[in-house]
């Protein structure tokens, strides 16, 4: 397909083009509420085409490869009205081939069914009310990018994923517990999800009452990933928002933007992490980049377009599927750990809450740093002990205001969730509202 398309582009005299070809095959095994529900086999092959004619971009895509001429004609028609661009597609570059992202060992369907059944058995033993739903995936992908400057590179990758959720109608209310694991190689310890869920279910069986007020709050990594701090930082660092001037981090490189202790890294080179890749969706080589160092802004997350607008170098952060336009986003986002253990954080807390899940993350003024969420799963801590589940409770605040020097701590433990690595966040004091 790609070769035929190149021929068609040459025939039509298109001088600047980029072809993004993608192949994906995934076979999910799905359990629904304690029952094996479905086995699926999905495959996608598609091509996205971008051309630049007289400084204007034509963007189109298809999964029907029979008529490359039609695709080129459509791109040409769009380019007449298209976006004006200052960037050019990248030149041929040295692409590293030592990243570990491909392990086609596979995950036999029978093994996945067995694992799902084991998880159901183990959690049902903890609570007979719990209904376990799970998706166990094995995916193979291939990406190839060819552009008019002779860039022609491809990589193959695999992804092994486990999502498991337990839902129970308990006396303390509806309860969701869940875990999520992902890796480019077979999961080393998929059973660890069971232990996590089991512990959360145990704590959730008792209700704790308390009064609204200011108090310390621990936000667990999975809760933080439900639209809280990583989301706020991603929006702020996103080159598109920076170029539009709507990010509060616009024009502040070198400045202190958040409390000391917060170091954020984007790293596309970590072996076996889900979004590790040698080049981004526009063919720009990827790497490891410090974005925030000890609270000081060091750089943004950029694609070709946002980099050209800001007069900066692209950072290898373009993401896309064949049918969407490239946009800047993190590869693997790491919030580096702190010094204290989670145990110690809990033990030292006199009166506060620990939050494992939230409802409504990402709906507030995320760019500004705001959040205001219901505590989906959280526990009251009294004198260093978890005493029970909190309900009808909201936490709210602004991360840029809350996370100042000395107002928070990060745990030394990290949780790696798909393409994020995040510690526990201890906030010394914040607003908690409850119906009590």
């Amino acid at each position: 397909m790609v070769e035929k398309l190149i021929d068609a582009l040459k025939r039509k005299g298109v001088e600047k083009f980029e072809i993004y070809y993608e192949e994906e095959e995934v076979q999910p095994v799905k359990f629904d509420q304690n029952v094996l529900q479905s086995l699926e086999s999905k495959s996608v092959k598609g091509v996205g085409l971008r051309i630049i004619v007289d400084g204007k971009l034509g963007v189109t895509s298809t999964n029907d490869f029979r008529d490359p001429d039609e695709l080129v004609e459509r791109a040409l028609a769009i380019a007449k009205f298209g976006k004006e661009v200052k960037f050019d597609f990248p030149q041929k570059a040295e692409i590293r081939n030592d990243l570990k992202i491909y392990d086609p060992t596979g995950w036999p369907t029978e093994d996945r069914i067995k694992l799902g059944q084991e998880m159901i058995k183990a959690l049902s033993a903890e609570s007979k009310e719990v209904k376990v739903s799970a998706a166990l995936d094995y995916q193979r992908s291939k990406v190839r990018i060819v552009n008019s400057y002779g860039f022609d590179a491809e990589y193959e990758s695999t992804a092994y994923g486990l999502f498991v959720e337990g839902f129970a109608v308990l006396d303390t209310g509806f309860t969701f517990v869940f875990d999520w694991q992902g890796s480019a190689k077979p999961l080393e310890n998929p059973e660890s999800s069971i232990d996590k869920l089991r512990e959360q279910l145990r704590h959730a069986s008792k209700l704790a009452k308390f009064e609204s007020g200011k108090m310390p709050v621990i936000i667990a990594p999975l809760a933080n990933l439900m639209g809280l701090l990583p989301h706020v930082l991603m929006s702020g660092l996103n080159g598109k928002n920076v170029a539009r001037g709507i990010s509060p981090l616009t024009g502040r490189i070198g400045e202190k933007v958040i409390g000391s202790g917060i170091t954020v890294v984007d790293d596309a080179t970590i072996d076996w992490m889900v979004n590790t890749r040698p080049f981004d969706a526009e063919g720009v080589p990827t790497g490891r980049r410090v974005l925030i160092e000890d609270g000081v802004l060091k750089g943004y997350v950029l694609d070709l377009d946002s980099a050209s607008k800001l007069g900066m170098e692209p950072t290898g952060n373009a993401v896309r599927s064949y049918s969407t336009s490239p946009r800047p986003s993190v590869n693997n986002m790491l919030i580096l750990p702190g010094e204290r253990s989670v145990d110690d954080m809990i033990k030292s807390m006199k009166h506060g809450i620990i939050v494992y899940g939230v409802i409504g993350g990402g709906q507030s003024n995320v760019l500004a740093g705001d959040f205001s969420v219901n505590v989906g799963l959280g526990f009251l801590i009294e004198d260093g002990e978890i005493v029970g589940r909190v309900k009808d409770t909201m936490i709210a605040g602004n991360f840029y205001e809350l996370l100042k020097d000395g107002t928070f701590e990060l745990s030394k433990e990290l949780e790696v969730v798909v393409n994020f690595s995040v510690p526990y966040l201890y906030i010394n004091e914040m607003s908690v509202v409850t119906k009590g």
Partner: protein
């Protein structure tokens, strides 16, 4: 095509199988600030085969019609592998043979691309004219045509065309570190006319975003709130609609008990409906992805739980009737139970009567909503204080949260001004987002709502 798909289905050696084949063409125009950010046309086609056998589902995708037979064989094999041997079936329905064509005054597919760029720029220009404080804008025009075919081993063969057209415009204003956002959107299946004539709403967005810059954050607490039709629509969709979806309920004895038909959920004057048969609405479709006609279903009637939302499979498991709510976002996903056009029925209260309270909040528009069945959270676009029956000053960052069962019982008045909303977004569930849905309501008043804030 009909022959190819029907012949392919002959390879199904399972209890039931169906094929959905779709051609999808999407046109996008995006303005960001002064710049035309994206013009693109995406095309894809393909099919998905779903096979069902004794409690097990198999699903396989394909790209070209001639590959359908192979996918039927694959899906059937997977269904048997997934089968638990359970005595589970699809609720019986009459096979349907039908053709549903697009019938709109102005077919968006026939409108030149240039005109679509122009209309997006037109609204974007209105936003940009809002002055120095307008930091950026975002205007999206989108149309999407879906040529949809459904064929089943029971003899159904349905061809249905769907055409969604919509516009969304948002403005971001900045004053120092204070960044605010306001937006509006219009989207449905009434063709290109849907995106015309929204100049006043664009001007309102400018006014709102500038007002929000000056508004104070709401004080956290427990309030009596009057919800406008938009956020009340989000409430009924998020908070109660999802709970009505039978796939959440059918395997959970405790939830079946809670969601038992005949239980009281609200006062007598409260009724909520899901109705995918309202032509032209964003959440409209003639037939669902089980081949069942869309229909009007009372979720709550006069305060009493009246029905769940069903696919044929969940209807069988619960011994109830299919409601035409089995939907997949595209051909490469298997259908699950989804809402369509969900709304609260109007009653007689005027707006003045609703706000006739000593103290409260008038909450307008919705930025989003999320639910974990019992608990919900949604964020409003803007809000005003109500003091002694009058709307007074604007406040921002009003996020409502609560328990759906308590909140439904706390609804104490319902207005007379039902409005339905579509837009460009939709509903997310099971990794399928955004599925086109509409929701709506008249103005309603609710007591005892928790508002997060400063």
């Amino acid at each position: 095509m009909e022959d190819i798909l029907k012949k392919a289905l002959e390879n199904a050696d399972v209890e039931y199988a169906d094929i959905r084949f779709e051609e999808v063409k999407t046109t996008d125009v995006v303005y960001l600030g002064r710049e035309l950010d994206n013009v693109s046309i995406k095309v894809r086609r393909g099919g998905g085969v779903r096979a069902f056998h004794k409690g097990g589902f198999g699903f396989a995708t394909f790209t070209f019609p001639e590959e359908a037979a192979e996918a039927v064989i694959k899906a059937s094999k997977l269904a048997k592998l997934a089968s638990t041997g359970a005595d589970e079936h699809f609720a019986p329905v009459k096979p349907v043979v039908a053709k549903v064509k697009i019938d709109v005054p102005q077919d968006s597919r026939k409108v030149p691309l240039e005109q679509k760029v122009d209309i997006a720029r037109h609204y974007n220009d209105i936003l940009l004219a809002g002055g120095d404080k307008i930091q950026s804008t975002r205007t999206i025009y989108r149309d999407e045509f879906i040529g949809h075919i459904f064929a089943s081993t029971e003899g159904s063969y349905i061809e249905e065309e769907r055409l969604h057209t919509g516009i969304m415009f948002s403005a971001t204003a900045k004053d120092g570190t204070n960044v605010q956002n306001a937006f509006d959107s219009f989207g449905d299946q009434r063709g290109f006319d849907t995106v015309l004539g929204h100049e006043a709403e664009a001007e309102q967005v400018v006014k709102d975003v500038l007002d929000l810059l000056k508004a104070e954050k709401v004080d956290a607490g427990v309030y009596t709130v009057v919800l406008d039709p938009k956020i009340a629509g989000v409430f009924i969709h998020e908070a109660f609609g999802h709970l009505s979806e039978a796939d959440h309920i059918y395997r959970n004895e405790k939830l079946r008990e809670i969601m038992k038909i005949g239980q009281r959920f609200a006062e007598d004057f409260f009724s909520a409906v899901d109705d995918g048969s309202i032509k032209g609405e964003r959440g409209y479709y003639a037939y669902d992805d089980d081949g069942v006609p869309s229909q009007k279903t009372y979720l709550i009637k006069d305060g009493i739980l009246n029905s769940h939302l069903h696919s044929r499979y969940t209807a069988y498991l619960m011994g109830e009737e299919p409601t035409g709510n089995s939907r997949a976002i595209y051909y490469n996903y298997s259908p699950i139970v989804r809402m369509s056009v969900t709304y609260i029925e109007p009653r007689d209260a005027t707006f003045e009567e609703l706000i006739d309270i000593p103290k409260g909040l008038y909450v307008v528009g919705a930025l989003g909503g999320q639910t974990e069945l019992e608990m919900f959270t949604f964020s409003s676009a803007k809000a005003y204080l109500i003091e002694n029956g009058k709307i007074t000053k604007m406040v921002r960052d009003v996020i409502l949260s609560g328990n759906v069962f308590e909140t439904l019982k706390n609804i104490d008045r319902i207005g007379n001004d039902l409005k339905l909303f579509g837009g460009l977004g939709g509903c997310g569930k099971g990794g399928q987002s955004p599925l086109p849905v509409s929701d709506g309501s008249p103005h309603i008043r609710v007591k005892n709502v928790v508002i997060g804030g400063k």
